[in-house]
């Protein structure tokens, strides 16, 4: 889902960079004091885990691959604001150090994966978790990554490189991630429940995921 430079028109890229900066600034402000000093390294561990997990491309016979993105999981574990900052850190490192995702379109990639996926995923989790925490985590991962992909598809479809073929891009990316997102949902649900079961004291607001 990492968009390279050249795929998105400059005005679109600039608008999304501004939007991402605004959202992350608000997220940082709302995250102040959200963790105590002892648990502060958890933010690093979750972000590093998301980075490492994103490197695992799951081969799917037929020539497709899926990799875990982790936005919804980060939101469930740390809350949406810290989750967004975690994923934004990951996406930035990927772009600057590894050239995975463009620099000019960094704001767009942050918007899709660290804003849309995280906040949509968290909203879905909050809606479903009261009925089924495990199901909520699954739906959050599944629909969160699909929402992020749809956001990317709309940006690409509104750009000249993709000949403004918005419907084609939305269909390919939307359907593709709707299917691949089942893996994201499964991993999100299993990991969230495992972590909540193993150390509920570390995730004081998320322990309900194991119920």
């Amino acid at each position: 889902m990492h968009i390279p430079d050249g795929y998105v028109d400059l005005p679109v890229a600039v608008a999304l960079a501004v939007a991402s900066v605004v959202v992350l600034a608000v997220a940082a402000r709302r995250s102040e004091g959200a963790v105590d000093g002892e648990r502060a390294p958890l933010v690093g561990v979750v972000a590093a885990g998301v980075f490492a997990a994103q490197m695992l491309n799951w081969p799917i016979p037929g020539g497709t691959s899926a990799h875990f993105v982790g936005g919804a999981l980060a939101a469930i574990l740390l809350g949406p604001h810290l989750g967004a900052l975690c994923v934004a850190t990951v996406v930035t490192v990927q772009s600057l150090l590894f050239g995975d995702g463009g620099v000019v379109v960094l704001g767009a990639n942050v918007f899709n994966m660290a804003v849309v996926e995280v906040y949509v995923g968290y909203a879905v989790y909050r809606l479903v978790a009261p009925y089924s925490p495990f199901g909520g985590a699954f739906a959050a991962g599944w629909l969160g990554i699909t929402a992020g992909a749809l956001a990317a598809a709309l940006q690409l479809g509104a750009s000249s490189a993709f000949a403004y073929e918005t419907l084609t891009v939305v269909a390919i990316m939307g359907v593709g991630h709707l299917v691949l997102g089942l893996v994201e949902g499964a991993v999100t649900a299993v990991v969230a429940r495992s972590l909540a079961d193993a150390r509920p004291d570390l995730w004081p607001d998320r322990s309900g995921v194991s119920a």
């Binding site: 795929y7 810290l82 490189a161």
Partner: protein, 105 residues
């Protein structure tokens, strides 16, 4: 509930889990390469003729999660290690900046 020993426990466990993910990166990279994988974004670019418009402004120090001049698997392993460590450092720093200044209970 979270005394110093317990804190060290979870940090050691987290480090082991991260290390396991890093070690798995070359294995998954090889396996994905065997199926000639493509992501939906790449499929959409091909369908609309956008593929040739990709124009990287910056390839990064370790382009494509490889280390230039080293075998692919080793390069992927090093890239995973460096990227995970850097992300851990940056996000931990972020967490400390945003922490409330207490040490928990």
């Amino acid at each position: 509930m979270c005394g110093p020993l317990r804190v060290r426990d979870w940090r050691a466990t987290a480090a082991l889990v991260l290390l396991a993910l890093v070690v798995l990166a070359p294995v998954f990279g090889w396996a994905a390469g065997q199926v000639g994988y493509a992501e939906p974004l790449e499929n959409a670019a091909e369908a609309t003729g956008a593929t040739d418009d990709a124009d990287p402004v910056h390839t990064g120090l370790l382009p494509g999660y490889t280390v230039p001049g080293t075998p692919t698997a080793l390069g992927t392993l090093v890239a995973a290690l460096v990227g995970t460590a850097l992300t851990l450092a940056v996000a931990t720093g972020l967490g400390r900046v945003l922490a409330d200044g207490t040490d928990g209970d």
